[in-house]
Point group: C2
Chain length 327, copies 2
């Protein structure tokens, strides 16, 4: 569900050390993309182990805009929503059908509709951890003259690749206009999970990621305090991994300082996947659930505010109509 | 764009006093829905003027579950995304095709794909202000045995009808299970507008509505202070109306206390509509734009944080990769 996949896997895979970089899975035909040989080297030969390393500076952007002679193609960042084809917008589907190359994390490439997979000249997929090298590969392919779609679950603006793509474009000396950069929005995890829970988010709300890979923990803690104190509902992304279980514990502790132990909390594990589980619990019971398989890197947690209640197995945060209308 | 339409119109229509309740527009065949006569009275005869009134208790929920003899049909709240058919998910389209009755605000009903309009036995639409009576009408039709979809732009969990539907169901003595209540998520305005601006939202973020119709202004102000202080990017819904222009002025003042005058602010007016306008300005210039037609009830505003910058006409909030990776 989460799209912050670099972070997730770095944290989650402390036992295994998956090989990142180019993948030979499926219909991937990596190095025929037309990018310069320097580009090929940087992306497919990076082959570095991610996950196990404590320092992630092993992903490095290589080629620059000067390495490409072709007229650039187009680059579009497409949000797939929950990941299943039926959660995708029509506009996303059309953007994928229009693309010559589709680049993404293996799981999402495999979930693409058959029609999209067949229409593409090339599908390039990598395992979870290589978000930076995968994004660079997409950009190099666009700079080499191909129309490229880079995909992710949820929305490209929610802890995801829209920003990374622009940052890497800039670092290469390219511009967004050069590749006609566009973003096709998708349904974010908070909304996919909110829908499964009922109506937990209908008032002012915040999204906070518990991953301290790219944001330091004191900042995350301060944001949690402020959000909990001000009555926002809170969507928690990247709640847990073996490597940073203490972040989740700290989060539960902070929430408990500001909200009652019986505050409803919705937990959605693996939204849209075969192992999807939806549970509504009380805030006081949340910390101990961190030790169960309900909460992992595919889980999104929605914390109610003081008005949120559970009715008929649904979580409802009232918007305030009942104080204005006679019902 | 905004789905908080009761609020919007109450605020926006100080000159005109549109008739709310049932509409005779288009293919609407209101009272043949099979609901009890009491229900018909409550929804179509409400006919009360909204907007001009300072007190909105004139919308009243009438019938209860005991007024219906039929086996209830199904009720699904469907988020359309930006409003145009191509912004809708496949799942939303299928939910609409499956519904016997489709209920919504006139503008969105008129935007539905022809295929959906033709498949429905009945389309019931009302002008903007009657959100409560329209939602009750949808519920009454479901309790009367019809499969009903109630639609709105964006996502049903973002200042929208998922919560209102559950609240009214409860007030009628019905349950969510009784009508097999379900929510089909859509792309929220923040994401639709974020995509148009580039990558303004890729880190922790909040949504705040400036409408004080259902949330009091001291609460809104306190939330703005906290969000601005903690470095969240901020999506502002319902930023302006003639009746509450001072809320927008106050918001700009609060943001200015915590963030530099040159902080990038993205403004999207009428996303997905013919009069769409996208502008990136500086925070210090925001207040005076409240007096222009760029900012009205169809506008969503995205306020960057201290790291947000403008590059090649795109607004970028870095996620922090540049501090971890070598590019």
């Amino acid at each position: 569900m989460s799209t912050d996949d670099t972070t997730d896997t770095t944290d989650a895979s402390t036992d295994a050390e998956p090989t990142c970089g180019a993948s030979s899975d499926g219909t991937d035909t990596s190095s025929s993309c037309g990018a310069s040989s320097e580009s090929d080297t940087s992306s497919s030969a990076s082959g570095s182990s991610c996950g196990g390393s404590s320092d992630s500076t092993d992903e490095k952007v290589g080629s620059t805009v000067d390495d490409f002679d072709a007229d650039p193609g187009r680059l579009v960042a497409v949000g797939l929503g929950p990941g299943q084809p039926e959660g995708m917008t029509q506009r996303a589907r059309e953007a994928l059908l229009d693309a010559e190359h589709v680049v993404g994390y293996t799981t999402y490439v495999e979930l693409l509709p058959e029609e999209v997979r067949e229409a593409a000249d090339e599908l390039y997929d990598t395992p979870m951890c290589g978000e930076v090298s995968r994004t660079e590969e997409a950009i190099d392919r666009a700079l080499a003259g191909n129309d490229v779609a880079i995909i992710g679950s949820g929305d490209p603006n929610v802890y995801a690749l829209a920003g990374l793509a622009l940052e890497i474009l800039e670092s290469k000396g390219a511009t967004a206009s050069m590749v006609d950069f566009d973003v096709v929005p998708g349904v974010p995890a908070a909304q996919s999970c909110g829908a499964r829970l009922g109506a937990p988010l209908v008032n002012d709300t915040v999204s906070i990621s518990l991953s301290d890979h790219l944001t330091d923990m004191p900042t995350i803690e301060s944001r949690l305090h402020a959000a909990a104190k001000e009555g926002f509902t809170i969507s928690i992304y990247n709640p847990w991994s073996r490597k940073r279980r203490e972040n989740f514990e700290k989060c539960c502790e902070i929430l408990g300082e500001h909200r009652a132990a019986d505050t409803p909390v919705g937990i959605v594990h693996g939204a849209g996947r075969e192992d999807e589980r939806v549970e509504i619990v009380e805030l006081g019971d949340l910390a101990e659930l961190g030790e169960t398989d309900l909460i992992d890197m595919t889980t999104t947690i929605i914390v109610g505010n003081a008005e949120t209640y559970v009715w008929d197995d649904r979580m409802v945060t009232p918007r305030g109509y009942e104080s204005k209308y006679d019902y």
